[in-house]
Assembly symmetry: C2
Homo-oligomer: 301 residues x 2
DNA sequence: TCCTATCATTAGCTCAGCTTATCACAATCT
DNA sequence: AGATTGTGATAAGCTGAGCTAATGATAGGA
């Protein structure tokens, strides 16, 4: 593919995104004819049309779709060269897009922000909260640099860096204070309040209770740990929460909090990023900083 | 990395390969100053030197090394666009670089060539014989399109396509004809002739005999199955060969050939290629053709 | 000390690729 | 139907990125 230019791929990607020559050209800060010509040039190289010019609609042809895929791959690799520049310029500085899952963010984010802005003042953190699935695809598409999630994620394209392990605790109505702590089996008989689909914490809790995938049961869903604890306080059932949430969520609620006997349910919190990211070394440094404050805050709980 | 061009990456890659401005320029079919300028342009983008201009020697700086890595990745993806063109132009045609391991090539290659040149006359096969390790790296560097090896190879970047399974048979001196066939354990007491390091067939044979990695023992090495069989004929020991080699290798030698009782040792022969190769669909077609003739020839043995 | 190999610099030219202006076409409205 | 509007293609002209050829600068080696 000699004669191909990155510019052409960028224009094509914009066209695919906007499905409109004029708007794509605007997004690329060029005139519409300039974009048309480059697309035509690309089509010449492929000896085939890449877009269907419909009446009021532009659509990619099948070959166009495949080119789009490859283009994104190439453009992502090129963007990573920017990170290579940053990596070669001493301590980490500039924008860092960090994603966190919702069952970690409220409790741990303040600690992370404080630590990083102290140790790496040049760093410009840009935060995003979403479930693991969505963070992973943002990472893979290059919309995110790094994410804090529960390990393992087992994506071969991502590097995992473990931060710390944390136990789950049982939250029951205040009236249950002092009653014996149920084990995984007896838990199955109680009404368990859980986060809605998509949260990894939901699956971890379910797996501790050894519920099968399919069997229907007494479940209720809440959209945040905070809601769940309030529901428990109102006597609607019991729930599990991660240890780091205890201080924040149970202070004002009428609930009783108990640790499980061994083997305790737990999760591993860690960082993930694209294996191909040239900032890998720097991200490990950041990981080390977060790990240090994470362990300190876990000890002080 | 706006302003970056593929041309610059190509020039840089050539410079890294030749370690010499003049020769790299020649390889790119441009003048030496043109190349110097583009390299300088690149260095401007990185705010750092990428090559050390030594007295009589050009060397990459550490940053240069990392850029080289990324460049190769990007350029490989760009080359794969060529394959996308081919994939979109009907039946597979043009150059196809096929690698085969030495313990398959002599016996199966004629069949493959005949079948493919009959079914895909437009195909221009370019063959290479090497051990698995080397074929894999050629695939990953884009120096090879597809390879026939023993599965599994378990490289996440490669797709595996299984062709057929094939048993190993025992080759003993003709004097042993009629003697009971040894099992894996009794084999350990005999002098086993094997291929030299690097051949996967050697490891498969060793693993059948359940030899540990380290334990020293009565072994001799030959550089081809043909040599091994001749050595067996001369009474120097026994060996295993794959079934497809029986007809070719044992016809003229004074040896006795026996199948093992169940569970028979065997290997799976298959094709591998870069997962990212746009010709994937076409390669599967080729795989289907080879599989068909492979099974037919296995049955007729 | 001079020579040779090697990369950098300079001057000048050419064409790829941009902009603006305009055309061609089809869908929708009146 | 005829007018209008939204859209991409085409045309003409300009500008600068990037090439070549010629020359300069520098460091090893004879």
């Amino acid at each position: 593919m000699i004669g191909l230019t990155l510019k052409q791929l960028r224009y094509f990607e914009a066209l695919a995104r906007h499905q409109h020559f004029g708007r794509a050209a605007e997004a690329c800060a060029i005139s519409q004819p300039a974009l048309s010509l480059q697309i035509k040039e690309l089509e010449g190289m492929f000896h085939a049309p890449l877009v269907e010019r419909g009446a009021r609609q532009v659509r990619l042809t099948p070959i166009g779709e495949r080119l789009l895929e490859k283009s994104r791959q190439i453009l992502l690799a090129v963007e990573e060269l920017d990170d290579l520049v940053r990596a070669s310029q001493g301590p980490l500085a500039g924008r860092l897009r960090l994603g966190i899952i919702p069952t970690v963010a409220p409790y741990f984010l303040p600690t992370i922000i404080a630590a990083l802005s102290h140790r790496l003042p040049e760093l410009d953190l840009e935060l995003r909260e979403a479930v693991t699935r969505s963070l992973i695809s943002d990472l893979q598409e290059g919309n995110l640099d790094v994410a804090v999630v529960a390990l393992p994620v087992s994506e071969p394209s991502l590097t995992e860096f473990s931060l710390f392990e944390e136990d789950f605790v049982l939250v029951r109505p205040a009236a249950d204070t002092g009653k014996p702590v149920p084990n995984a089996t007896t838990l199955q008989a109680m009404r368990l309040l859980l986060l809605e689909e998509g949260h990894c914490f939901r699956d971890q809790a379910l797996s501790f209770c050894q519920f099968g995938e399919s069997q229907p049961r007494q479940l209720m869903e809440g959209s945040s740990l905070s809601t769940l604890v309030q529901m428990v306080g109102a006597g609607m059932g019991v729930t599990l929460i991660p240890e780091m949430a205890v201080g924040f969520e149970t202070r004002s609620a009428q609930v009783s909090v108990d640790r499980f006997p061994h083997p305790r349910p737990s999760r591993t919190i860690g960082m993930i990023w694209r294996r191909s990211n040239p900032l890998s070394d720097q991200l490990m440094q950041i990981g080390a900083i977060i790990r240090a404050v994470g362990q300190r805050s876990a000890e002080s709980d």
